[in-house]
Every structure is written in structure tokens, then in C-alpha cells.
């Protein structure tokens, strides 16, 4: 992590700025989705602009959270083996969130 400080600095702030409007959208969207059936959810998730914003969300957030948690790992875990294993788990978790999130939105646009 420490060797790519400038890249991470820029990426963390870039994704942060993207996520502010996306978070506001997601909160309002989630409120409108309260109590909806699966059919209504599929219709909403597959609306082109909602799908696009959700895909942007599921790409931006894993980038942001893997850098943030990576920094916490660097600061608090000092044993070499434990640290690199935790870094790997952090990357795997971010990848899973990204792939499952984007994959689900794409799958929904295909089936709905």
C-alpha cells in the first residue's frame, strides 16, 4: 500500500467525490423502494439510469473501501504474515462486493 501513496491519495478523493451524489441518490431510492415486491424491485433496478447509477456505485465503493481498510491494516497490523493475509482478504472482499453488485444489476437488466 505504501508504495502507491499518490495513486491511492488521488483515487480515494476521486471516488469520495463521486460517492457523495451517489449516496444521496441511493438513500432516496431506498426510501421509495420500501415495501416493494420483487417484481417492482426488478422493474426499478432495470430502469436504465438507476442501473447505471447502481453500477457506478458498485465500482466506486469497492475501490474506496479497499484503500481505506488497506490503510487501517497498514497502521494497526505489524506482523508481516498477518498483515499480508489481511490485505489479501480485504482485496477479496472488495472484489466480491464489486462483482456480485455489478453482476446482479446486469443480471436483473437481462431478466427483467
Amino acid at each position: 500500500m505504501a508504495s502507491s501513496a499518490t495513486k491511492h491519495f488521488a483515487r480515494q478523493r476521486m471516488t469520495a467525490m463521486i460517492q457523495v451524489p451517489l449516496t444521496i441518490f441511493l438513500v432516496i431510492f431506498a426510501i421509495t423502494m420500501i415495501g416493494s415486491t420483487r417484481e417492482e424491485a426488478l422493474a426499478a433496478f432495470s430502469t436504465w439510469w438507476i442501473a447505471a447509477l447502481l453500477v457506478a456505485w458498485f465500482i466506486s465503493v469497492p475501490l474506496h473501501m479497499s484503500i481505506g481498510i488497506g490503510d487501517i491494516i497498514d497502521d494497526y497490523l505489524h506482523k508481516k504474515g498477518t498483515r499480508s493475509l489481511t490485505h489479501t482478504l480485504n482485496s477479496v472482499y472488495a472484489l466480491l462486493i464489486g462483482i456480485l453488485g455489478v453482476g446482479s444489476v446486469i443480471a436483473i437488466t437481462l431478466i427483467a
Binding site: 478523493r13 469520495a16 467525490m17 460517492q19 457523495v20 449516496t23 438513500v27 426510501i31 421509495t32 423502494m33 420500501i34 415495501g35 416493494s36 420483487r38 417492482e40 424491485a41 426488478l42 433496478f45 447502481l54 458498485f58 465503493v61 469497492p62 473501501m65 481505506g68 481498510i69 487501517i72 497502521d75 472482499y93 462486493i97 456480485l100 453488485g101 453482476g103 446482479s104 444489476v105 443480471a107 436483473i108 431478466i111
Partner: protein, 149 residues
């Protein structure tokens, strides 16, 4: 000893030998700190960041369940709508609101705005106040204007 005493007084003051593990200072220091709101906001930013990462699993579960099956979707939304699910969602919302507001504060700092001691402290208090207020507004909106009502 006689060596040090022979030197000029200002040299004797500067000449301090630290032995790691005995008298050398350690960093990061987790035992000695002073409470300031900027420090509290900083550590809360880290804690909420971690909580948000965990919360992302719930968000993915929600979207994925809609893709998978009706019974799975009903199970996930049923859980999120239960009192236990709502408590988790309230915590997640509070965590996201704090992280977003404090993150905006840091983006301001990066741009050189509000970095004086008074301004950074005031904006820190404001974030701690605004995050629960926004969460309350979101939950009020959810219970009154939400899709189910």
C-alpha cells in the same frame, strides 16, 4: 558521565541517547492522547468506514436477492424490515451519513478550507450533530413517505 560533564552545557542538553525498548519513544502511541473533536472525528471516520464496508454486504444481498428468486428477495426484505433489521439499517445509515459529512469536511481541508483550529473544531462538532439529524430525517421519511405508505 565525566565525558558529558566536560562538554559545553548546551551540548549536554542535546546529547540524549535513546535505547529502543527501554527509553525510546514509541509511535503510534495508543496510551497517551488528549481528547479533541478533530481527533474524535478522525477515529470515527475510520470506524464508520469499516462499518460501511460491512454494510455493503447487506446492500449487495438486497440487489442480488432480487436477481435470484422471489422467496430469497422476500426473506431478505423481510429481515431488513424486522425490528432487528431496522436497527442494523439505522446504524448503517448513521455510519454512512457520518462518513459522508466528515469526508466532505476532509475534501474541504484538502482544498485548504476551514483548517484553522477553531474552524476545524467547529465543523467537527457540526458533523457529529448533523449525522444523527440526517439519519432521523431519512427514517422519518421512510416511515411516512416510504413506498409502503
Amino acid at each position: 558521565m565525566s565525558d558529558t560533564a566536560a562538554r559545553a552545557p548546551e551540548d549536554a542538553v542535546r546529547q540524549v541517547s535513546f535505547i529502543p525498548g527501554q527509553n525510546a519513544p514509541m509511535s503510534p502511541h495508543l496510551q497517551v492522547w488528549k481528547f479533541t473533536v478533530t481527533m474524535a472525528a478522525s477515529i470515527t471516520q475510520r470506524i464508520t468506514g469499516g462499518a460501511n464496508a460491512a454494510g455493503m454486504a447487506l446492500l449487495v444481498l438486497w440487489v442480488a436477492s432480487a436477481a435470484i428468486s422471489e422467496s430469497f428477495y422476500d426473506a431478505v426484505t423481510g429481515f431488513l424490515g424486522s425490528w432487528f433489521g431496522l436497527v442494523i439499517l439505522a446504524g448503517f445509515t448513521l455510519s454512512v451519513m457520518f462518513h459522508m459529512l466528515n469526508g466532505l469536511r476532509y475534501l474541504g481541508f484538502d482544498a485548504g478550507k476551514g483548517i484553522s483550529r477553531a474552524a476545524s473544531s467547529n465543523s467537527g462538532w457540526a458533523v457529529f450533530l448533523l449525522a444523527p439529524v440526517l439519519t432521523a430525517i431519512i427514517f422519518f421519511a421512510g416511515f411516512t413517505l416510504g413506498g409502503a405508505n
